[in-house]
Symmetry: C2
Subunit: 450 residues, 2 copies
């Protein structure tokens, strides 16, 4: 099989030769998701040329649906307003709304005017929902029927809309006011007697999401109930869309990415790393770096405070990076495990007691082992057994202290309704650096009598 | 709505009262996924009592399918072999295989003997696949038909197996040797003329996975092609199972959890945090902690090497934690973003050049800002402008150096076929700690002329 890289080189060659016919033939054969991988390194102008080389709107609409919304919006902006309008109409409505939301306001207005009135209304309604809500990820392309319809009539109705609906594996039953009455799976429908009214076949206490529910809650609903799609209702309980299972993978991946970036000690990028400009990376990272520097600045004060001791016993300073490093490492291990367990709903606030016990015990065991190793290292360095003892005792205390702080802090943040993932490895490191030094020199004072 | 905690209290009260009838009524109303949340804090004995209080095997089988395989195996082990066999037969085969794999070998043998021969064969075959492969997560409960069957006959065939198949949204077409010929969606089937042979309706170049493919690759296949299920074939291309879309969310979550735990600086737990005993947590974390201590031990040697300077200019040592801390923070930010971008296939090995340029530039900008801030801090501490200058220059160099190392290392590991997530925040911190100190004292030597 051809790799993406080989494919990319072939396409670049054809682009250079301006060989439209060959390009068209090549592109006709690849899937939208392959196209997306192919063009990650291409400039917006090159992407536009590729998209122009295939004439079918349907193909282009499929590709735009898979591209990152910003990338798709870049392309839409290069088109005349009427062409842009046609293309947005051709796309799946939920994807179109995401792209639409990325367009500059003036241009969005212009394009909207060129669209069919009902399509325009649908699009601007969808684009108005927060992007990370049920409304923001739903599609209005579903099949809804009345409860008095018979099973065979429902199949006929389905046949008519099969092309446009995002999933026809569920049929939704609504009343005259469009309120959701129940849901019916396609297999239930086709495996039933033709003359049965769908009202008798449907499941009437269907799970649903509200338009403003968080996308993560919708994802949990779909995975918990093993659904192919979940209906979304507005404040009057009217059915306004569905979220399908294939959107869920994206939601889960995006949430995991956010947590990982936070845990690494920066704010989430929200767009792909590849497309993130240097300025954005700096804006997401520098504030945290400054905050951590300022928060950590007291370490210098602690060291200055204990200046006399470190002049008297200079060997103490040799171990500073090792001690603060180990404290940071224990904290980082604990925080990562705990924040993840909280993200997948395994640990809640009420679990604070056993979490604390567990982590403190782990800290004690690891602290004991590390103390022995530290004694060995001090011996090896030839700094005298007194200093070795101070280092060993300190490292044991630091292990327990770090594990405890790292166990409690994410739970407290959750209580304060702050994302627990902001207690990143860097934050916990900074926190235990200075306190660790304080423990170190205090222990030294007591044991060395200086 | 009742919270899990309230539900838990109610159940505990009923357990204490040994009120079987009330327990049964309560449990009949809750979903399997709710049951799982409910019993996370319960002892195996309590879980067994709850499961016993409902008589239907089907309900118990559903619950066991949702429980963590180890937890389900705990319960299975309390049953007589014939009851255990019945229950495993009742479960979805892929779930049953996961549970079966957790049973002690002797007991597994005994239970297998009590099962129907074909169910026993199916189960032991499934349990033999690596748990993280396509074979390990697939189910053999699919619908396969011959290409000469007509559409209406296929619907009749479907009706017969609808109860047992995991998904009937796809029908697979196989030849006499069980080799996969094509796939047909249910909606295609019901929306076609009754007399059409399914061979004419099917898509013949269906995507498929091989049994030993990694589960992550299968997940990408399903999400890239927007499928509800993907067929799995053995080495002779015979259809042996399907992986359905609802398994994918679990795969993606498990992979993200692994990455987060690695990035935090420990080996993945592989079981839920809640169920992880203290011994396991220590085994996963302590080796890394020791490795990092030993790897970081050279920091003491560096400090000892520069002992004369730190005695002469004791103020230099005040900034050690701040400098190593900032280096570690920059490294942690870079590594987290990059490892995640690699996990979602956004960055490959061949991207090393632009990644390096991007991160180095970010490092330069952040380094310049941090240098100014460091100057201010030195001023505040009153250590003299010479030392301030040394600190500022060092912090700038460290920012660039950390960003560069953190950008390149994950890519090199990938090249060596090691999971890039092992370059955790702690690893990068340890790496840049000692080198940072070396840069610091060398700069001091040059500028302060000591």
């Amino acid at each position: 099989m051809e790799t993406v890289q080989q494919l990319e080189e072939r396409v670049r060659a054809l682009l250079a030769e301006r060989d439209q016919a060959a390009l068209r033939a090549l592109l006709a054969e690849i899937r939208p998701s392959e196209f997306v991988d192919l063009v990650t390194d291409f400039s917006p102008e090159e992407v536009a040329i590729l998209l122009e080389s295939v004439e079918e709107d349907e193909w282009r609409a499929d590709i735009l649906g898979e591209l990152h919304p910003e990338q798709a919006a870049d392309y839409i902006q290069t088109l005349p307003h009427d062409e842009a309008a046609d293309l947005l109409e051709e796309m799946d409505p939920d994807d179109a709304a995401d792209v639409f939301a990325e367009l500059p306001e003036a241009q969005a207005e212009q394009i909207l005017i060129q669209m069919e009135p009902d399509e325009a209304a649908e699009l601007s309604e969808l684009a108005a929902f927060p992007p990370e809500s049920a409304g923001g990820i739903m599609t209005p392309a579903f099949v809804a029927i009345s409860p008095t319809m018979r099973a065979d009539q429902a199949v006929v109705a389905l046949r008519k809309v099969a092309e446009e609906a995002e999933t026809i594996y569920y049929v939704y039953v609504i009343d005259a006011d469009e309120r959701l009455l129940g849901v019916l799976s396609l297999h239930r429908l086709v495996l039933s007697r033709p003359e049965t009214p769908v009202g008798d076949l449907m499941v009437s206490d269907a799970v649903f999401a509200r338009a403003l529910d968080d996308q993560e809650a919708v994802a949990r609903l779909i995975t918990d109930y093993n659904l192919l799609a979940v209906p979304v209702v507005d404040e009057d309980l009217r059915l306004i869309g569905i979220v399908t299972q294939d959107d869920i993978a994206d939601v889960l991946e995006a949430e995991a990415t956010e947590d990982i970036e936070r845990l690494g000690g920066s704010s989430p990028l929200d767009i792909s790393y590849r497309r993130a400009p240097i300025g954005l990376l700096v804006r997401r990272r520098l504030p945290w770096l400054l905050f951590l520097f300022i928060a950590g600045a007291y370490t210098s004060s602690v060291l200055k405070f204990f200046e006399d001791i470190s002049i008297e016993v200079v060997a103490l300073s040799f171990f500073i990076p090792l001690l603060t490093g180990t404290g940071g490492n224990v904290g980082s291990q604990t925080v990562a495990t705990l924040v993840r367990a909280m993200a997948v709903d395994e640990v809640q606030l009420r679990d604070v007691r056993w979490v604390l016990m567990k982590e403190a015990t782990v800290g004690v065991i690891m602290g004991a082992v590390m103390a022995l190793v530290a004694l060995g290292r001090a011996e090896l360095l030839g700094v005298g057994s007194d200093v070795g003892l101070v280092v060993a005792i300190t490292i044991a205390i630091i292990c327990v202290w770090s594990a405890t702080v790292a166990a409690v802090l994410p739970l407290i943040l959750k209580k304060l309704k702050v994302d627990p993932a902001v207690v990143s490895a860097p934050v916990i490191t900074t926190l235990v650096d200075g306190t660790g030094l304080f423990i170190y020199f205090t222990t030294a004072k007591l044991i060395l009598n200086v």
